[in-house]
Amino acid sequence: MNKFIPIIISRPQSSNLMNVLVPVIAVILTLLTGSIIFSIMGFNPFFALHTFFISPISTSYGISELLVKATPLALIAIGLAFCFKNNIYNIGAEGQLTMGAIFGGGIGIYFYDTNAFWLLPLMILGGAIGGALWAMIPALLKTKFNTNEILTSLMLVYVALLILDYLVVGPWKDPLGYSFPKTRQFSESGRMPLLFAGLRVHFGLIITLVLIFFSWFIFSKTIFGFQLKVSGYSPTAARYAGFSQNILVYLAFGICGAFAGIAGLSEVSGPIGLLYRDISPNYGFTAIIVAFLGRLHPIGIIFASLIIALTYLGAEDAQLFMQIPAAVGFVFQGLILFYLLGADLLVNYKLEFNK
């Protein structure tokens, strides 16, 4: 056998060290690959990486922008953790986010000239309900008709986006907005309060942190969290234990949809302030990467959301200063996930070289 091709040997017990180390390895490999790609494109790799990953967060404004982007990513990702832990592949968070924005935003539009303390909480509740209801559709189809949730949840993304499109060019169009496909502005009390004057980071961040703490508590301290985990690892064992799989499916989808809906609402009532077509730059999909990179763990997801948010900011700067299309951010996100999934081998297997 060739001396340089390692043999893959399964570990008797998966390595906890590797579990933590692999995401770090994935990020480092992505940076290396990035600098190679930049060199090929004719840029000084240090300049390029600096533009991409350092300069966007070298000001307080930059850090605030990072948090603005990380907020929806982290919130959706922790919601997805409820599904993924249970081996439910809900990949339609983008649609649930959109529905949350429609429900919550709809309340904001209806009360556009009302200023009252109850408006924002009502909108947040609306966002949660909208997202949860939309997520209930694939949950229902899965439990009642055995339909694969991957495809159904995804199809509903397209449907939700079309509904939003219909609303903003149709019934909800701003009567004073000329022919632009957008709605009225929400009233001041329908907006997420800013945390610091002059910076865009908003109250949604606080909501996200509270919900992440809540999720951590569920995962590690409750029977429900344990049930999700068992049902994800082995549905047979869950049935043996007497856990109701259907209830777990509804709860996981419901919580995930509610979180995504709140994330959607906090985007439209935070930085945007009204409804229009492109409320989310693929947050619902990118959050899948955040969830995996963060190992479905609350702390991991916080770090992962910051790293992935940085690829958004970096891509914007790269477009501005290096004339590279901003889509390079998505390329980096895809790369991180590839490296993560590939390096995951090291958690359950070890490599040995022939002597």
Partner: protein
């Protein structure tokens, strides 16, 4: 309805459905060998942009299709390396491939949006799509190689015990799937549209995945399924043209809702899905200990 209009509709349906057939049959072969590749949408987009950009630069149609198919081969090899050698989770890796493909295609195509090209006649490909389905059907049920491929998807351990190279066969099936997805994409950007636009496949990759379930993993039924979806998408445009009083967005939902409904109808028969799905679909194969 006059004959002229009917002829026109049939023609449009044929042209619009062909990419679904290509992507669907490619994914079917991959799944038959026991691998689920959710990267169809991403591979289609990369295939589409590669063909388009090559055509704009070289003006050569053959080069455009060749490079496009090559891009599909490269993308699917990346996927194959991860799921076969590194035994990564197939669902997550397929998603990564799609996310990566969406990003890569819009990055490459950024400067080509709106560039005019001369489209190629679709008819060769329309006919080819029928030929390839027939060929795959023949391959699966009349040749030993096809039988081996199905056997690998059925039980990789048994196939391995008989001495068949499970990974090699799966690798080839994944590559074939990638090439067909890229072909579907290049057909869209060069014959069907003909133009480049971000996310121009608009979920067709996902519909192709649904088609495989609809077809209960039988090649011939891919055609039937694809033409139902193709028909629904084209007819909704016609309904719109005939002035039915519903906002356009609701008509545009038709293909996605049709996919949902069909999936529900097919999968509610649990036993049928269980009996027809390749038994080792998404299960990684580990030769050593």
């Amino acid at each position: 309805m006059d004959f002229e209009l009917l002829y026109g509709i049939v023609k449009i349906i044929l042209i619009a459905t062909t990419p679904l057939v290509f992507a669907g049959i490619g994914e079917l072969v991959t799944e038959k060998s026991g691998v689920l590749n959710l990267g169809v949408e991403g591979m289609m987009l990369v295939g589409a942009v590669t063909a388009f950009v090559t055509l704009v630069i070289t003006g050569n149609y053959i080069l455009a299709f060749t490079f496009s198919i090559l891009s599909g081969v490269i993308m699917s090899s990346l996927f194959a390396f991860l799921v076969l050698i590194l035994m990564s989770n197939q669902i997550a890796t397929g998603l990564a491939l799609t996310i990566f493909g969406i990003g890569l295609s819009s990055m490459i195509g950024k400067n080509y949006i709106g560039t005019p090209i001369e489209g190629l006649s679709p008819w060769f490909f329309v006919i080819f799509s029928f030929v390839i389905v027939f060929f795959i059907s023949y391959f699966f049920y009349k040749t030993k190689a096809g039988l081996i491929l199905r056997a690998v998807g059925e039980s990789h351990n048994s196939a391995h015990a008989l001495g068949y190279g499970v990974l090699k066969i799966r690798f080839c099936s994944i590559i074939f799937g990638g090439a067909m997805c890229a072909l579907a994409g290049s057909y869209m950007s060069i014959c069907y549209a003909p133009m480049w636009q971000e996310n121009m496949t608009a979920g067709r990759g996902w519909i192709a995945l649904a088609l495989v379930v609809f077809a209960t993993w039988k090649p011939g039924r891919i055609l039937i399924g694809a033409y139902i979806f193709g028909g629904v998408s084209i007819l909704q445009m016609n309904f719109q043209a005939w002035g039915l009083s519903l906002p356009g967005q609701f008509f545009n939902m038709a293909p996605y809702l049709a996919t949902l409904i069909v999936l529900v109808l097919i999968s509610s028969n649990k036993l049928r899905v269980k009996l027809s799905a390749p038994a080792s679909l998404t299960i990684p194969f580990f030769k050593g200990r």
